[in-house]
């Protein structure tokens, strides 16, 4: 089990390898990537920032909860901070398990809890030079600031 906030590109294949084990018959990888449209407005790039020490703790807690609930310690989660471009991976979660149902459920649990609890923020950059803080929960803009 491992949880990390990182400021370099995420290697999702390496995460899958990290959870692989001959006892496991099922692996699930979730990756979140920067996408073009957020409610219709073209996004050029993002920056993610975090309350680093707390985000690290929350991710660790969430992974430990998933390990307990779904009975596997083969869980790895990484979340990236810094500037990301279109298509870049912002978060990756890999879970392996003897059984597929729990592998899916554990990966889903980690991303849902991360989105609720991890103190991470995202600012979208638009083609016209503006940048806005975005709230994932409500999709409302929670702040506006010229770049």
């Amino acid at each position: 089990m491992r949880a990390a906030m990182v400021d370099r590109p995420i290697d999702s294949a390496a995460l899958l390898k990290e959870v692989a084990d001959h006892r496991n018959g099922a692996s699930v990888l979730f990756i979140g990537t920067v996408r073009e449209l957020n409610d219709g407005e073209p996004v050029k790039g993002l920056d993610y920032s975090a309350y680093g020490a707390m985000a690290q703790k929350e991710l660790g807690d969430i992974a430990a909860e998933a390990a307990e609930k779904f009975d596997t310690s083969d869980i790895v989660v990484e979340h990236r901070v810094g500037e990301l471009g279109l298509g870049d991976v912002s978060v990756a979660i890999a879970v392996a398990h003897p059984h597929r149902g729990q592998a899916f459920d554990a990966a889903r649990y980690v991303i849902e809890e991360l989105k609720k609890r991890a103190p991470i923020w995202k600012r979208e950059h638009y083609g016209d030079g503006r940048a806005e803080w975005v709230s994932a929960a409500s999709k409302d803009l929670v702040g506006v600031r010229a770049k």
């Binding site: 978060v91 103190p119 991470i120 923020w121 803080w133 709230s135 994932a136 929960a137 929670v142």
Partner: protein
């Protein structure tokens, strides 16, 4: 006692800086910090009851603070 208060993202923008150090009376609680922060950013995008963490754990408004605690005001999160 001295408490360090961290602000992030849109709240840091509202304050114009990412942290502030406060002198608080003994027995102060999270809500006392919130009152001070709201006075500092008057009307600027910090809601009435934002999320708060003390020493990197989510905390309630009535949590008592100790010397050298680290308090953080947490805007709506958007990881993932």
């Amino acid at each position: 006692m001295t408490v360090r208060v961290l602000l992030f993202a849109s709240y840091a923008d509202a304050l114009g800086r990412p942290d502030v150090t406060m002198e608080l009376p003994a027995g102060a609680r999270v809500r006392d910090v919130l009152d001070r922060v709201k006075a500092l950013v008057a009307g600027k995008r910090v809601p009435d009851k934002p999320l708060v963490a003390v020493n990197q754990r989510y905390a309630r408004e009535d949590q008592a603070l100790g010397p050298s605690d680290e308090v953080a005001i947490i805007p709506p999160v958007a990881g993932g």
